[in-house]
């Protein structure tokens, strides 16, 4: 609660740069990671289609806002998420028969197909001449949410609500079904757990959450809807976030997203500070890329269960020291 109050109070103290470039992408990335984590960390179905589902959510919400302007913003967001969830169910159909890397490849098919679809057909972007389209104005109950603080609060509220629901969900019957499927699906089906339905449900919920995150990414962060910002790199980024943060942990999503968003910014600032423009920016970018890759490998080696496990271990150690 304290943390929540602190997060809600941030707009009072932080400047626009922090809100726009750091906190909003961090929150949205956390939400996306949460969506993928439900699928991959809880239900055990690896997916590289996150970018695709994000774009479905973004384009669906865009079209809803455009064509049904009387709907309030949260309803449009949710409907956009549901549409993305339905696409997710279709994309999840191969998971009934194939697993592992074969499934990863089939989600890649979804990714490329969706990217192509949104670039190819003008209807989705309302026949805009440029391939990117500007987002409609964000407003809710008469309040204009277009300022950085407004967009931040919109993102924060969505993230809090979705995270609360998801945290309840993974402790429910559904969440236990997913974990049973993840741990051993043959055994799960033997004891009467509906494996196929569970997998499809996981794909639906996961894509729903990712779709909402995609809509926020387009409207609250970038301000444009552009299929190119939901490419394969985005899918990889999300997957990195949950592996570094910790699979099968709600808290891990936030830690992993923080790593994926903050570290490149930090490297950027460090690079600018140390070399001060003495080095070619292209070189600096390559250097950052290499360093970032090395950091990822290092984290994977040092902490197999992610930052969430690291944190909870530190916490128990601290608690036992205090109790003594």
């Amino acid at each position: 609660m304290v943390l929540l109050a602190a997060l809600a109070g941030i707009p009072l103290v932080a400047n626009d740069y922090w809100l726009n470039a750091v906190l909003i992408p961090f929150l949205i990335m956390s939400l996306t990671a949460l969506g993928l984590n439900l699928l991959m960390g809880y239900a055990g179905q690896a997916s590289l289609g996150s970018g695709g589902f994000m774009s479905v959510g973004a384009y669906a919400t865009y079209n809803l806002l455009l064509r049904l302007p009387e709907l309030p913003l949260p309803v449009s967001l949710l409907l956009g998420g549901i549409i993305s969830g339905l696409v997710g169910v279709v994309a999840g159909l191969p998971s009934l028969r194939i697993k592992g890397f074969y499934l990863v490849a089939s989600t890649l098919a979804t990714q490329f197909l969706l990217e192509w679809l949104f670039n190819q057909y003008g209807w989705f972007s309302n026949y805009s001449t440029s391939s990117s389209i500007s987002a409609p104005r964000l407003a809710f109950l008469g309040h204009d949410l277009s300022s950085p603080a407004g967009r931040y609060l919109l993102t924060l509220a969505t993230v809090v609500v979705v995270t609360a629901v998801a945290a309840r969900l993974v402790r429910s019957q559904t969440g236990r079904t997913w974990m049973a499927i993840r741990d051993m699906d043959t055994a799960a089906s033997v004891i009467g757990i509906p494996v196929s339905a569970g997998k499809l449900k996981a794909f639906f919920v996961s894509s729903l959450v990712i779709g909402i995150a995609g809509a926020l990414w387009a409207f609250a962060y970038l301000g444009t809807v552009d299929a190119r910002s939901f490419n394969l790199d985005r899918s990889f980024q999300v997957m990195f976030a949950i592996i570094i943060g910790g699979m099968g942990s709600v808290r891990g999503n936030f830690l992993g997203a923080a790593f994926m968003i903050f570290v490149p910014i930090l490297l950027d600032h460090l690079g600018g500070g140390v070399f001060g423009g003495a080095v070619d920016p292209g070189q600096l970018e390559n250097f950052q890329k290499a360093l970032f890759g090395a950091l990822i490998v290092w984290f994977l080696i040092k902490e197999p269960r992610g930052l969430a496990a690291l944190l909870s271990r530190a916490w128990t150690r601290l608690a036992s020291r205090i109790n003594r």
Binding site: A105, A109, W116, D185, F240, I243, L291, G293, L300, P304
Partner: protein
């Protein structure tokens, strides 16, 4: 009709180029169970190194040799720094680690050798020649020939040399291979080195075709459906899968692309791959398994000379056959293999 055949042949020859990259994947996956996403950046790194050396006026073969040395060094470093600490981790973690490695290789290679597009001239004239009324690119023919030679060389390496046989032992059963004293780590280094060599060949051919640039790493994304169709563990499968993907892509681009409005080839091969993995098992691992099964039965029926020898192989084969049958029948046979 001749246009159809021309498209088909062009696609098949392009498919051979995909196979070249896919072979590198197969080698690493067979020996270490790692799905090596860094293969694409290895292709880029090899091509960049080679081009930079050539730009400095170094002789072709010497440049190739130095590049090979660099690739082997990378292989050893990857094994030491990344693979060894990550033994027994989930495959997806290893996959993500190779993704991190690919960032490192791409970043470093471009720092050292620059990010601009280089021209690579292998001295092959790319004029189409006519064979039986069909125009065929000469360069593609050379590429296909190179791939053929590479496959023959690799199969000799795997079937005849000591190292190759040890590698096959590891691919079959790492535990058993370890227990008879095969050095896993050394062999991993060797196999990553060989994968480096394959990526050198692929990098030269791809680089000559579309210029040595960052886009070379995207070749990986074309190789993935090739692997799904051909199976992760079979070199023959990589070739067959490459041919299918190449032909499918170019035919789809011509005939489906006009219906749907172009650039179908970005996703067509993936849909093909999903369809193939939905409908059955990968082309070549299925063949291999059934062949093993048949060979097993044949050797069990064959009368052997020594009386003591007669029973043992028969029993071993009976369990082998049972296993094979079980695998084929199980609805999740693919999952068990992964």
């Amino acid at each position: 009709m001749s246009f159809f055949i021309e498209t088909l042949v062009g696609g098949l020859l392009a498919g051979v180029m995909y196979s070249l990259v896919a072979i590198g994947f197969v080698l690493v996956f067979k020996a270490s169970g790692v799905f090596n996403f860094a293969q694409g950046s290895m292709v880029l790194c090899a091509a960049l190194t080679f081009v930079s050396l050539r730009d400095k006026g170094i002789d072709f073969w010497l440049a190739a040799l130095i590049t090979l040395a660099v690739m082997v060094l990378i292989a050893i470093a990857v094994e030491r720094v990344v693979l060894r600490p990550l033994v027994n981790r989930p495959q997806i973690t290893l996959f993500m680690a190779t993704l991190g490695v690919s960032f490192v290789i791409e970043g470093l290679a471009q720092i050292v050798m620059g990010a601009s597009v280089h021209e690579l001239d292998l001295g092959i004239v790319d004029t189409p020649i006519e064979i039986g009324g069909v125009q065929v690119s000469q360069f593609d023919l050379v590429a296909a020939g190179t791939a053929g030679i590479l496959v023959v060389a690799l199969s000799i390496f795997f079937n005849k040399t000591r190292v190759g046989i040890a590698l096959r032992a590891i691919a079959d059963d790492p535990q058993a291979a370890l227990s008879i004293g095969i050095r896993l780590q050394t062999l991993w280094q060797i196999v990553w080195g060989v994968a480096g060599f394959v990526s050198l060949v692929a990098g030269l051919l791809w680089g000559a075709r579309q210029g040595v640039q960052f886009a070379l790493t995207l070749v990986v994304l074309k190789a993935l459906p090739v692997l799904i169709i051909g199976g992760f563990t079979s070199i023959t499968g990589a070739i067959v899968g490459g041919l299918i993907v190449g032909a499918g892509d170019s035919l789809a681009e011509i005939y489906l692309g006009s219906l749907l409005g172009g650039s179908v080839s970005t996703w067509f091969s993936y849909v093909l791959a999903v369809a193939s993995s939905w409908s059955g098992r990968p082309v070549c691992s299925a063949k291999r398994r059934s062949k093993g099964f048949d060979a097993c039965r044949r050797s069990a029926q064959k009368p052997s000379k020594g009386s003591t020898r007669r029973t043992r192989p028969r029993r071993a084969c009976a369990t082998g056959c049972a296993q094979a049958r079980l695998w084929c029948c199980s609805p999740h046979s693919r999952a068990f293999r992964l």
